[in-house]
């Protein structure tokens, strides 16, 4: 029952990932990260920690798998419908006044939120003048996101979320079903740009009017959260919006005094 990977083993693995591959997990929240590592250890049936470590150190392909598995890639379309309702009614009408709209989905995983956003933009007649930059630390999830193919079994839930967010169309009109999957219209993905980006180690790459980073910061320790907020601040135009997950806040971060929460939802506006 005792976990194979304790504090010491975790520290060794994290320093391997950093020194050999440049992935810096040292400021991730430890309790969750340790669970993920032990999950991987069980999943891949390692007889001992030493063998897991050997594999990570000597097999770059496996190291990538390790990174993919210890980061959390759970996401859904229109998660927290009230949040999307606020985007529709409070944020998009303001973005509509810009000639060109740039949105950054930071830590987009398999892309469900990016497609949700594209649907909102299309319904507001803004998609044609928008670009959605979707980034993640993992290449594999980005490839999946770019296909726009999601499990058909999820569509009932997503359709309910969509309607609860204020959607008026027939949700199934946005995808083509075949076998067990739903492929979303290329009209949506045509306005998306997918690229790897590591929030921990890379810098700002553009200026945006809206940055979405939901349920990513919970995996970071507080100090790293602060650094990532500074990165977002640098990447956000004045009067731009920053949206985080329902249990996350920018309130106690170093950038808090330049932002105002104008919504009941976790959406802040850069006012200075």
């Amino acid at each position: 029952m005792d976990n194979a990977i304790g504090e010491q083993e975790m520290a060794l693995l994290l320093s391997d990932l950093l020194e050999l591959y440049g992935y810096d997990f040292t400021d991730y929240a430890k309790a969750s990260l340790k669970r993920r590592l032990n999950r991987l250890f069980t999943l891949d049936r390692f007889p001992s920690f030493a063998e897991l470590r050997y594999q990570v150190r000597n097999d770059a392909e496996y190291a990538r798998r390790c990174v993919e598995q210890i980061t959390v890639n759970v996401t859904e379309m229109f998660r927290d419908p009230a949040f999307y309702h606020a985007l529709r009614t409070e944020v998009l009408p303001v973005l509509a006044t810009y000639p060109f709209i740039r949105i950054w989905h930071a830590g987009c995983s398999t892309g469900e939120e990016v497609y949700s956003m594209a649907i909102l933009l299309k319904e507001a007649n803004l998609l044609h003048k928008s670009l959605l930059y979707a980034t993640d630390i993992n290449t594999q999830v980005l490839q999946k996101a770019a296909t726009g193919i999601f499990p058909l079994s999820q569509m009932k839930q997503y359709s309910e979320n969509y309607i609860a967010s204020g959607g008026k169309e027939d949700f199934s009109s946005y995808y083509t079903a075949s076998y067990n999957s739903a492929k979303f219209d290329e009209e949506l993905s045509r306005r998306m740009v997918f690229s790897t980006h590591n929030l921990v180690s890379e810098s700002s790459f553009n200026q945006f009017q809206l940055i979405m980073c939901r349920n990513v910061l919970i995996y970071f320790e507080k100090e790293l959260q602060g650094r990532v907020f500074a990165l977002f601040d640098e990447s956000l135009e004045k009067l731009g919006y920053l949206a985080v997950g329902s249990k996350e806040t920018i309130k106690f971060s170093p950038i808090a005094n330049r932002y105002r929460q104008e919504s009941k939802e976790k959406i802040w506006r850069k006012i200075h």
């Binding site: 430890k30 309790a31 669970r35 959390v72």
Partner: protein, 192 residues
Amino acid sequence: MAKDSLRDEEKLVVIGGSAGSLPVIMFILQHLKPTLRIPVVVVLHRKSDSDSSLSTLMAHRAKLVVKEADDKDPIIPGMIYLAPPDYHLLVERDKHFSLDDSEKINYSRPSIDVTFESAAEAYGKGTVGILLSGANADGVDGLQVIQEHGGIIAVQDPSSAQVPYMPQAAVNQLKVERILGIQDIPGFIDSL
């Protein structure tokens, strides 16, 4: 139970419940003394889209302050924390919470096991785990980890539970030190 040498700030009570546990939780909160100096964490299985009305309801009953845990909240003695819906609630070693929206465990998010196990690693023998009524075995592994770390484990007496499966599974698989009637749970916590 005799008080041991641990100070109150080194103790943590974690309570897990599923089907049939809500009335028991309400009873416990209503009867805990306002002078309790130990933080209490409550993990209840509930629907992912449930709103925050449960914590409001709990706050209404309790003499202590009730809060739905936010990411990175410090764990303060004498507070009652409720795991938010649709997240796992983890306890970090430097005594704050972190949230995790990874896969469901035992069909549940929040999972009782996840909170119990991380609590045991953070608070060691200062951890007290209590498992209430429920229809699946979430929490049993967590109790075992608490026990392995020298903490105290207790369950609601299965004969008093609306759905006895969860506490019964703990009794069958583990050496449970305390099997408590509903009436006895608040006193047990107050005496820690």
